[in-house]
């Protein structure tokens, strides 16, 4: 396992170097081409995740509605929390008494697994520059599986 990691990292390193060289060669290559290449490389990997997100999102919205919560509640939770399981828990807690500390502790425990995801992604998110905050914020079960398991093709940057 370890040798594979080293090899993968080495391959990534050389990929980055040749990518930089490629960028210097083709200064004319517009940003749009780069974006399209990244999109066509990434989209197929994310289709199964999208199917999961769409149905989970609908389920969360229906659940919040069944609890008598207004539509902005699941919307705000999706934007700010972005973690499926805890959004269901928080939705049910929104119907109870106001206790933000209890909500904080519950959400931390439910999402404690992210700590392990973060430890696993420490090295990979090291040199991604200004994209790092968003990659860290958007790290959920699904994005972790993709970011961890997907080889980044040549000419496409991580993140």
């Amino acid at each position: 396992m370890a040798w594979l990691k080293t090899r993968m990292r080495a391959a990534q390193g050389s990929g980055n170097a040749s990518q930089r060289a490629g960028e210097r060669d083709a200064v004319s290559a517009s940003r749009r081409v780069v974006l399209r290449r990244a999109f066509t490389a990434a989209f197929p990997y994310t289709v199964p995740i999208m199917a999961g997100f769409v149905f989970l999102g609908m389920a969360c919205g229906i659940y919040a509605h069944s609890l008598g919560l207004p539509a902005w509640v699941p919307t705000l939770m999706s934007v700010l929390i972005f973690a499926g399981s805890s959004e269901f828990v928080v939705a049910s807690m929104l119907t109870g008494a106001f206790n933000p500390l209890q909500v904080f502790i519950t959400a931390f425990i439910v999402n404690a697994r992210h700590l392990f995801y973060g430890i696993s992604m420490l090295e990979r998110f090291r040199h991604v520059g200004k994209k790092r905050p968003y990659l860290v914020f958007g790290m959920c079960d699904e994005t972790f599986s993709i970011n961890y398991a997907t080889p980044v093709p040549k000419g496409v940057d991580r993140g």
């Binding site: 396992m1 370890a2 990691k5 197929p44 990997y45 289709v47 199964p48 509640v73 705000l76 939770m77 700010l80 929390i81 972005f82 973690a83 805890s86 928080v90 807690m93 929104l94 119907t95 008494a97 106001f98 933000p100 500390l101 909500v103 904080f104 502790i105 519950t106 959400a107 931390f108 999402n111 404690a112 697994r113 992210h114 700590l115 392990f116 995801y117 973060g118 430890i119 696993s120 992604m121 420490l122 090295e123 998110f125 090291r126 790092r132 860290v136 914020f137 790290m139 961890y148």
Partner: protein
């Protein structure tokens, strides 16, 4: 709960969630070298997490009663076989899910 309290509740949950995501990156900042133990955990944990997720998925399967977990284990074997054959993640996910649903309907469980 008032609207303000609802917003505060959501913000509390969001803060806790952001903390679970950002804490490892904050503790092991990029200036210092990450400790060996932590780097080992980073390499060793993902396979463990994936294994754990399989166990978690099967936590409600009753091997002693009902359908004895036959559709679940048949679907897992089918998914694994499909993946070893095609090596295509979307094909494995949709194929495995379809197989599981067909088995559930065939056995009259859904």
């Amino acid at each position: 709960m008032t609207v303000l309290q609802q917003v505060a509740t959501i913000l509390a949950a969001a803060a806790a969630t952001v903390l679970t995501r950002a804490l490892p990156f904050a503790v092991f900042s990029s200036d210092k070298k990450t400790p060996r133990v932590v780097r080992y955990l980073g390499a060793a944990l993902p396979p463990a997490v994936f294994g754990l997720l399989v166990v978690y998925c099967l936590r409600n399967v009753d091997v002693m009663g009902g359908s004895h977990g036959v559709p679940e284990f048949a679907a897992i074997l089918g998914t694994a076989a499909l993946h070893l054959w095609k090596r295509n993640m979307p094909v494995s996910i949709f194929g495995g899910t379809a197989l599981y649903l067909v088995l559930l309907y065939a056995l009259g469980l859904a």
